[in-house]
C-alpha cells in the first residue's frame, strides 16, 4: 500500500525535511504559506516607500548611494519572495490585487511616516534589526523556496542594520540638534518595531498551526524578547535615552522586562487606519496603474515576436 500524501507530508515535517513545490501538501498549508509569504513580500516592497522618501534628500552623496542601494535591495527581497510565492501557484497580479483591496497585509511599521533623516537610521537599525531576528528563525522554515529566500535575504539585512546603526552613531556623536533628531526617531520607531513581531502568543490567530507545520519556528513573544535584549545595549552605546521607562534588566529571567505595547494602536494601524496606510497603497497602485501601458506594450511586443518566429 502506498502512503497517502498526508502521511508523507507529516513524516517530512516531523523529520524537518523541506517541502518542495511539486510535493503534495495540505490545502491549508498552502494557503497559510501564501498568506505569510505574500505578506512578507509586500512588506519588503511597501517598505521601500518610507526610506525612499529620503533618497532625494540624503545629506551626502555617499549616504544617498547607500540608501538607494538599500531600498533597491528591499525591492530585490520582494522579488525573491514573490517568486517563491509564485511556486505555490499564486500570481503577482493576484497578490497585488489582494494588497490593494486590503485583504493582504504588510508589516504595519511601514504605515508610519519617515519624518527626518534620523528615521532612515532608525529604520535600518530597528526595523531591519527586527526583521533579521524574525528571518533568521525563518531560514529553517519547512517550505523549501521560502527557506532559501530567507537565507539569501538575511545576509543583506545584516548590512542594512549596520548601515542604519552607523547613521545613528553619526547623529548621536553630532550636535545637540542631531542627537535630538536621533532620540526623536528612536522614540517613534521603537514601539512599531516591537509590534512587527505580531500579537502576543496568546492572541495570535495563525501562530498555532504555523508552528505545528514548522512554517514558524519561534513564537512572536520569544522573538520580540530576543530583539529587545539585543537592542537595549545598542541604545545605551549610542548614549540615547531608553524609549520605554519600563525597560529594566530582570536578573531572574535573564532578560529585559519592558512596558506593554499599545495593542489598540496596533489593531488600528493593521486594519488600515495608521498615519500612512492610504498613502502607501495609493503610491503602490499609482505606480502600477501608470506602468500598465508599459507592461501591455512589453506583452504585445513579445507576442508579435513569437508569432513572427512561428510564421
Amino acid at each position: 500500500m502506498s502512503d497517502s500524501g498526508q502521511a508523507v507530508f507529516d513524516r517530512r515535517i516531523e523529520a524537518e525535511q523541506k517541502i518542495e513545490p511539486k510535493d503534495w501538501m495540505p490545502a491549508d498549508y498552502r494557503k497559510n504559506l501564501i498568506r505569510q509569504m505574500s505578506q512578507h513580500a509586500h512588506s519588503e516592497v511597501i517598505g521601500m516607500q518610507p526610506e525612499g522618501n529620503w533618497i532625494s534628500r540624503a545629506p551626502t552623496l555617499k549616504r544617498k548611494m547607500v540608501l538607494l542601494a538599500k531600498v533597491q535591495d528591499e525591492g530585490g527581497h520582494g522579488l525573491y519572495l514573490y517568486s517563491a510565492t509564485e511556486t505555490l501557484n499564486a500570481t503577482r497580479d493576484e497578490m497585488n490585487a489582494a494588497l490593494h483591496s486590503g485583504k493582504a497585509k504588510y508589516a504595519s511599521i511601514f504605515n508610519y511616516p519617515a519624518l527626518s533623516w534620523a528615521d532612515v537610521g532608525a529604520i535600518g537599525w530597528l526595523v531591519d534589526g527586527a526583521a533579521i531576528v524574525n528571518q533568521i528563525s525563518l531560514q529553517g522554515t519547512s517550505y523549501g523556496p521560502y527557506s532559501r529566500a530567507m537565507i539569501r535575504i538575511c545576509k543583506e539585512e545584516s548590512f542594512h542594520q549596520r548601515q542604519g546603526y552607523e547613521i545613528m552613531i553619526a547623529l548621536a556623536k553630532g550636535t545637540p540638534m542631531q542627537k535630538a533628531m536621533a532620540q526623536d526617531a528612536l522614540n517613534r520607531v521603537w514601539w512599531p518595531s516591537l509590534m512587527m513581531f505580531g500579537p502576543h502568543d496568546s492572541a495570535s490567530a495563525h501562530s498555532g498551526r504555523s508552528m505545528q507545520w514548522k512554517i514558524k519556528l519561534r513564537t512572536n513573544d520569544d522573538l520580540r524578547q530576543s530583539f529587545i535584549d539585543q537592542t537595549v545595549p545598542q541604545i545605551k552605546f549610542l548614549g540615547l535615552e531608553l524609549p520605554d521607562p519600563d525597560i529594566k534588566w530582570n536578573e531572574e529571567r535573564g532578560h529585559y522586562d519592558s512596558g506593554e505595547i499599545d495593542w489598540d494602536e496596533f489593531k488600528r494601524v493593521i486594519s488600515g487606519d495608521g498615519p500612512c496606510n492610504r498613502d502607501r497603497i495609493r503610491h503602490h497602485k499609482k505606480a502600477l496603474d501608470e506602468g500598465q501601458w508599459v507592461r501591455e506594450a512589453l506583452q504585445a511586443y513579445h507576442n508579435k515576436k513569437a508569432s513572427a518566429s512561428a510564421a
Binding site: G78, G174, T175, G291
Partner: protein, 254 residues
Amino acid sequence: MNNFSNSTLYNYLLGLADDALILGQRTSEWCSRGPFLEEDIALSNVALDYIGRARMFYQYAAEVEGKGRSEDDLAYFRDEREFSNLLINELPNYDFAFSMVRQYFLDVHACLYLQGLTASTDQHLAAIASKAIKESRYHLKRSQTWLLQLGLGTEESNKRMQTAIDELWGYTPEMFMMTETETQLSTAGIAVNRDNLLQQWTATVTADIRSADLQIPDQQWQVVGGREGKHSEHLGHLLAQMQILQRSYPGLEW
C-alpha cells in the same frame, strides 16, 4: 607645460560631474515608482551608477581646485546658476517613455564620449572613463531594448515614445556643443571633441529609431544654456530638495 589653468580643468570636471549627478538624482526618483518591480530595481541601478560617476568627477574636481573642498561641498553648496549640467539631464520624468528616450539619447552619446575619454592624456580621467564606459554600454543595451519594445509594442506605447522623441529632440544639440574650456582641453588631448561624435550619434539614433517604427523629427529646434548655468525652472526644485539638509545645517557630519 600645459597651456591651460587649473580652473579650466576644474570647470570641465564640474560639467561632467553635474551631468552625472543631475541625471542620477532624476533617475533615482523612479525608485518604488517603476512599471514593475524588476524594472524598478534596474532603474535604481542606473541611478547608482550615475551618482557614483558624479562622485568620481567631483572628487577629482575638488582635488584640482585645491581649496580643501569635498565632493559634498561641490554638490550641496552651489546654486542653480553655478550648476553647469546639460539641460536634458534635469528635465522631469514626465512618463516612462520620456525617461527611456532621454536615457537612450544619453547612452548612445555616453558610449561615444567615454570611448574618447579613455584615451585622454589625463590618466585620472582616462581611468574614470574606463570604469564608466562599462556601465554605459550596459545602460545602452537596456535603453536600446526599451526603445524597440515600446516603439513596436502597442499603439499607445508607440505614440508615447514618439512624443518623447519630439519633445527631447531639441535638447540633443547641446550634447555636441563645445565650450571654450573644452576646446582648450581637447587641443591638449585631455577632453573629447564633441564635434566628432555627432555623425556617429546621428547614424546610430536614426537607425534605431527607424527600426522601432518611430520617426526622427524633421523640425529642427534647440534649447541650450546648461553649461552657462542657464537652466530650466526644474533644476532649482531638484536642487532645493537635494540640498535641504546641508543648507539647513551647514558644516555638520552626517
